[in-house]
Symmetry: C2
Subunit: 132 residues, 2 copies
Amino acid sequence: MKIGQVSKKTDLSVQTIRYYETQNLIKSAGRTDGNFRVYDSKVIEQLEFIKHCRHLDLSLSDIKRINELRDNPNAVCEEVNELINDQVKMVKIKMKELRHLKTQLEALTDSCSNNQKVGDCGIIKSLQECDC
Amino acid sequence: MKIGQVSKKTDLSVQTIRYYETQNLIKSAGRTDGNFRVYDSKVIEQLEFIKHCRHLDLSLSDIKRINELRDNPNAVCEEVNELINDQVKMVKIKMKELRHLKTQLEALTDSCSNNQKVGDCGIIKSLQECDC
DNA sequence: CTTGACTCTATAGTGGCTATAGATATTAAA
DNA sequence: TTTAATATCTATAGCCACTATAGAGTCAAG
């Protein structure tokens, strides 16, 4: 299989697949005479795994670490667990920030009745006053 | 006032202040004989405004646009309003994504009882199965 | 006159890609 | 067989909003 086919099967761009290779997340099985990457079907699974993890917003280095642990089945599960828990914590923090953000932004839109002149714009006035 | 003092007053790093200059968000009043930037107090307000907008996660180019509109008080307020509304939309989308993320991550942690071997790790097994 | 704190410019790094240029390889149609 | 279209290769730059560094110059106090 060449990279274009892998790309179609996984719905990842060709560049992304090559990028994952530079980051040592995957390897091609080898090269053709013309220096094209050749893959076996195993890579599809690997890329789906990566996709799934990225979907969970895990960093590529986290994913790399999980892969290392996967390759060593006697390793202790705890590290993976911590990694996921840290991710949950991060997500909670981000959600809190976004809730705050949303409140502030919605307060702003309330202070604007459309088609005023900027000189009278409540939004801009609010932005000038600091409430942090 | 030199840049270090501005930095202290605004709690922005010296590099950030210089960066904002490269992005045409602020200007220094001039330079000393020794080529040090000189600022008047006006810049403090400007930087606080920028800080406030960044706090709302507005992009620097959005902030630049708002500044342009501020300098032209006869402009119509609508554009500022749209800009903020777009920001609210983005925040809502991000929140939705994060909620989804959190659900998935928490489901994962439930599938791990600590200190197992990786070979038996529920998290890793779940990551291998695709539920997208 | 030296020391130390400050400032300057220019450049590289962050993360996770995306996009481009320019060269080579392969495939299909004419 | 030629040619044109498509696929692939490497290397590099760009995105965003900074942060960090190197190496040089400036300035004030002791």
